[in-house]
């Protein structure tokens, strides 16, 4: 469970949101909505400790995350709005790299299964630069399974995905929620997730 | 009691209160020092009247280095204790350091022309002071070339600390370089003893420069704090 107390965010000279309080519970997907520029990405980056809030604190396991940052990092998977896969490597090499980097215990067979689930099994030795943007996004989302973390922070995960893939990812998220995982995501596309709550940033807009 | 040394608000008040005193002290000490140096102290029997340049040159050189030392101290405070005043101080003081360095170099070469016959020699001291000046310029550029002001301040503070490690090494290496490539006869500036009649005005001038330095700091830092307030208000 993650508690945000009174966080405010400032980018440049604009105050984006002010005194935001919310609670993110295990087993429930928290969907952050709001119009463009309402600070969805900033809020997710604050939760992933990639941005310092101007004010306020985030509490996790009864403690401020800034006092327990290493433990907190080891719980997180953060998927940014940009793809971090390397263009010059093949799909398999990218996944292998993530597996080694995150000290994951996933076997190579599962890679194939994962890829066939999202229709990428024919592209396993293809360079990432030859994939379409939706395929790149799907490759990025395999990190959810590879990293084996408890808390998922997803920034626009469905960007450029077709309806079929969206439902598969929604299914994956639902499965993770059943195991008492935590999911925080921002999305414009309605998703079929069983357990969900909304945080509407438009209501908290300053000015 | 010493909180005005690291608290922007208290520094502002202290600087405003002491403004007039520091200004008047600097002016009086300057007048006394210059009169003493130019009129009442004797000419050197070898160097003649040109020795008088020393009274500006030496305090400027000391201050050029002292400024960097101060910046290092505030850099450590800023980065390790998260004292924002350190960033403000470094930003405000770097141009002052550059001015003193330039003063030192220019008076040095004015002195060098009649003594050595050239404006510039690649003497170890001259070269390392020039590099010190370059460091000040880089710090100023770094402060101004980032979109995010706080980022620029942090990066330039890191560079200040890097320089404080590196400048002694550079000084040492340039000394080494100089002794390898040139006969040591050129560094005449290091005279073993100094006549008391020349030393007294030098001390007065040094104190006068220090007070002038204080005055400049209080002006620049206050200006910087004001700019900061303006940015925060927007």
């Amino acid at each position: 469970m993650i508690l945000a107390s009174n966080i405010s965010c400032k980018r440049g000279n604009n105050l984006i949101f002010e005194n935001l309080n919310f609670k993110i519970e295990d087993g429930v997907a928290t969907i952050i909505s709001g119009k463009n520029g309402s600070g969805k990405t900033s809020l997710l980056r604050i939760l992933a400790n990639l941005l310092k809030p101007k004010k306020g604190d985030i509490i996790w396991k009864g403690k401020s995350i800034y006092k327990n940052i290493d433990e907190y990092h080891k719980e997180l998977t953060y998927i940014a709005d940009i793809n971090c896969s390397k263009e010059n490597l093949s799909v398999y090499e990218n996944m292998k790299f993530w597996k080694n980097l995150y000290k994951s215990s996933i076997s190579n067979d599962l890679f194939l299964k994962l890829l066939s689930n999202i229709d990428l099994d024919n592209y396993i030795n293809e360079r990432v630069k030859n994939l379409s943007s939706g395929q790149k996004r799907k490759l990025e989302l395999t990190r959810l399974i590879i990293e084996e973390r408890h808390t998922w922070i997803l920034d626009e995960p469905f960007l450029g995905l077709d309806q079929h893939s969206v439902s598969i990812i929604g299914q994956t998220i639902s499965d993770h929620l059943k195991q008492k995982g935590t999911v925080i995501l921002s999305s414009h596309i309605p998703v079929n997730i069983t357990n969900k709550t909304y945080i509407d940033l438009d209501l908290h807009e300053s000015n | 009691m010493f909180s005005f040394l690291y608290n922007p608000g208290k520094f502002f008040i202290a600087a405003e209160k002491s403004h007039n005193y520091i200004k008047m002290t600097a002016i009086y000490l300057m007048i006394i020092g210059i009169l003493y140096a130019l009129v009442f102290s004797p000419d050197d029997y070898q160097q003649g009247f040109t020795v008088k340049i020393m009274f500006i040159h030496v305090p400027a050189a000391w201050l050029a280095m002292f400024t960097y030392a101060l910046m290092t101290i505030y850099g450590i405070l800023a980065l390790s204790f998260k004292i924002t005043f350190g960033y403000i101080f470094i930003k405000a003081v770097a141009p002052i350091g550059l001015i003193f360095t330039l003063m030192c170099l220019i008076t040095g070469s004015i002195w060098g022309k009649p003594m050595w016959g050239t404006w510039w020699v690649w003497d170890a001291r001259l070269t390392s002071v020039l590099i010190l000046g370059i460091f000040y310029i880089i710090i100023m550029i770094l402060n101004r070339s980032f979109d995010d002001i706080e980022n620029g301040e942090k990066i330039s503070t890191i560079f200040v600390l890097l320089g404080s490690i590196n400048l002694p090494i550079i000084k040492f290496s340039v000394d080494w370089w100089n002794t390898l490539h040139q006969p040591a006869s050129i560094s005449k500036l290091a005279s073993p003893s100094i006549e008391i009649s020349l030393l007294l005005p030098l001390i007065v001038m040094t104190i006068a420069f220090k007070v002038l330095f204080l005055f400049l700091i209080s002006l620049r830092v206050r200006a910087e704090i004001n700019i900061r307030k303006q940015i925060l208000k927007e």
Binding site: N100, L101, R149 | F159, I170
Partner: protein
């Protein structure tokens, strides 16, 4: 005990995977490495044309020039070293792996040295062959470059990390780096051009700068990366 060893093994594997990936990406597209090598040779040519074919003069000037070009070659790769990883969010995901940025900085130093300095070091004997200096000097030149180029790599990475959030003033990286390199070039040139006794002394100083920069460098680099990440 074996459990600890296994954990250590996995940990190193996870760090080394970053290095191996960087090397792999560059090796897929060797043109950048070739370009640096060709750039190096081209500038030597330019200097030879500028000095003239007089052999005596060439013998005096070429070693200092080789070292200056080495610094220039390090400068041109400043904006390539860390910027890719910063822009596509890879530093973001390194943060969640539990590997500290100091270790990542060390792995970056390692890969950058292999990718951008080692080719020049390999090129060196051939260049020395062309310019015909005597054998001990070639030997000394290669030793100083072998010790000096890691120092240059550390400095390029420091300035590269400082320039992460700066996209408009690309020359600033070189401006930061060059003053830091002054001691390196003085002692390496000194070691080559002076006699044998001074050689060991200057190599010792160079080695001490090498170890000092390896100790301080990762720390500074990781600090700059963290500042850039929290932006």
């Amino acid at each position: 005990m074996s459990q600890i060893n296994k954990n250590l093994f996995i940990f190193f594997k996870s760090i080394l995977s970053i290095s191996f990936r960087d090397i792999k990406i560059q090796f897929r597209n060797m043109s950048y490495i070739y370009s640096i090598m060709i750039f190096f040779i081209m500038i030597i040519l330019i200097f030879i044309f500028a000095i003239g074919p007089d052999e005596e003069q060439l013998k005096v000037y070429l070693i200092p020039i080789l070292w200056s070009i080495l610094i220039l070659c390090s400068c041109i790769s400043i904006n390539n070293l860390l910027k890719d990883d910063y822009l596509d969010g890879n530093f973001g995901i390194y943060q969640f792996t539990g590997i500290s940025f100091e270790l990542i900085a060390i792995s970056k130093i390692f890969t950058s040295w292999i990718l951008y300095q080692l080719p020049i070091l390999i090129l060196m004997p051939f260049i020395a062959f062309i310019i015909e200096i005597n054998e001990t000097k070639i030997f000394h030149l290669i030793i100083t470059i072998a010790i000096g180029s890691p120092i240059l790599t550390v400095f390029t990475l420091i300035s590269s990390a400082m320039m992460l959030t700066n996209s408009k003033n690309l020359i600033l990286g070189s401006i930061i780096m060059i003053p830091l390199c002054i001691p390196v070039i003085i002692f390496s040139i000194g070691a080559i051009t002076n006699d044998q006794e001074l050689f060991t002394a200057q190599i010792n100083i160079l080695l001490s700068i090498f170890f000092a920069s390896l100790a301080i460098g990762p720390w500074v680099i990781s600090g700059c990366i963290k500042i850039a990440l929290k932006n």
